[in-house]
Amino acid sequence: MSRIRQPHNDALRDALASQYILGTLDGAARARFEKMMDSDPELRIRVQEWSHRLAPMANGLTPVEPPAKVWKQIQARTHKRRPGLLLKLRFWENLNFWRRLSMATASLLVAVSVLWIVPSQQVAQKDSMMVVVNNRFDQPVWVIETSASDKMMMIKTLRDIDMGPDKTCALWLTWDDGMTMSLGQLPEKSGMMEMEKPPMPGRTLDKARVVVSLEPMNNYDKKTIKGPLLFSDKFVTI
């Protein structure tokens, strides 16, 4: 089996990544580069960076409405494939997996075994609720997932953030009548964590707004939002 030689020269790696995104690599060179990317995460990051740099060239085109028949054709094809879709979800990308894993008192081995036994459709709970917190560049930072029946919220931090030495992002739930509940500080390092939901008698999550505010790092008022609002949105029920 032939092995693909990985380019070690920094400038060459960047040049290949940029030309891959620009589209100037011919068929064979492009195929070789794609094989390199398969086993080279750093190269994939360079490609993503170049994709982002050149994206305005495509995003800036004047939109043109496609004919209605295109959607009908897409719909006909996707509808047939629907049953297999959830099986395509890689298990480590499924927030329910992480939630179940972290809540389990059994060993990791048992949790993984359960995942293999339980069909994917059953893993996805019907009452799952999710909100994605974006930053000002519209980049997702946190994914918060729970359900009406869960006592915990699972928070996935998608990127490291730095709010400075004396500031933190505080998470809240608010309702239209002015009721405000503090959930605590949001993590600043990428990863997964659980946060306990406070008791909320007579209130439901589907009516709540998820709010993130910028507060002092230590001893901020947990009863009232005093800092500037960074984000506010409702859960989506899945």
Binding site: D14, A15, S18, Q19, I21, L22, G23, T24, L25, D26, I45, Q48, S51, R53, L54, A55, P56, M57, A58, N59, G60, L61, T62, P63, V64, E65, P66, P67, K69, V70, W71, I74, Q75, R77, T78, H79, R81, R82, L85, L86, K88, L89, R90, E93, A124, M130, V132, N134, D138, Q139, P140, V143, L158, R159, S190, D233, K234, F235, V236, I238
Partner: protein, 179 residues
């Protein structure tokens, strides 16, 4: 939150769970932009519609692979669409250069004007303008017409090595300018 209130990134994440309504909303929100990408590269309505269809099938099937921490949703979808359009163009065995078809809004000039609508676009526009004319033309033809080094050399009637140098230096300069 209703589908109409979701961002493109949220819609994609919901699509990953097989939600067809989210997919329909995603299509309504993004198809005009992606169709413009297909048209700009393929310059043929029939091929562009096939390209758009394949792009959304791929988005639907691979929505679970979208990693929001790595790319904006629109960038991810545009990359899928553009790659499919370029592949279609190369499979068709002929280049469809601008000017051979009548699409009023497909000229390089209109694309450049539109880039000004976003701050990223304005910066990229300024950086492109700082390139030498030949370098800029090579970059624009590569991006919008899907030309490889060899095709650019033939189209611009210059040696292959010259085109490779133009492209490499142009991209280095763009990276430096974009910061």
């Amino acid at each position: 939150m209703k589908y109409g209130d979701m961002s493109v990134s949220e819609l994609l994440m919901v699509c990953a769970r097989g939600d067809e309504k989210a997919f329909e909303r995603l299509y309504q929100r993004t198809s005009a932009n992606l169709y413009a990408v297909c048209l700009r590269i393929l310059k043929n309505e029939g091929l562009a519609q096939e390209c758009l269809q394949e792009a959304y099938i791929k988005v639907w099937n691979h929505a679970a692979r979208y990693q929001p921490e790595r790319a904006q949703a629109t960038t991810w979808m545009t990359t899928i669409t553009r790659n499919l359009a370029v592949d279609t163009l190369r499979r068709s065995g002929k280049m469809a250069y601008a000017g051979e078809f009548e699409f009023e809004n497909l000229s390089d000039e209109s694309a450049e004007e539109d880039m000004f609508h976003s701050s990223d676009g304005r910066l990229l526009q300024r950086c492109l303008e700082e390139l030498r004319e030949q370098q800029r033309q090579a970059v624009m033809h590569a991006y919008y017409d899907g030309m490889t080094h060899g095709e650019l050399a033939a189209h611009l009637d210059v040696p292959l090595g010259t085109v490779k140098t133009w492209i490499r230096r142009a991209l280095e300069q763009l990276k430096q300018c974009l910061g």
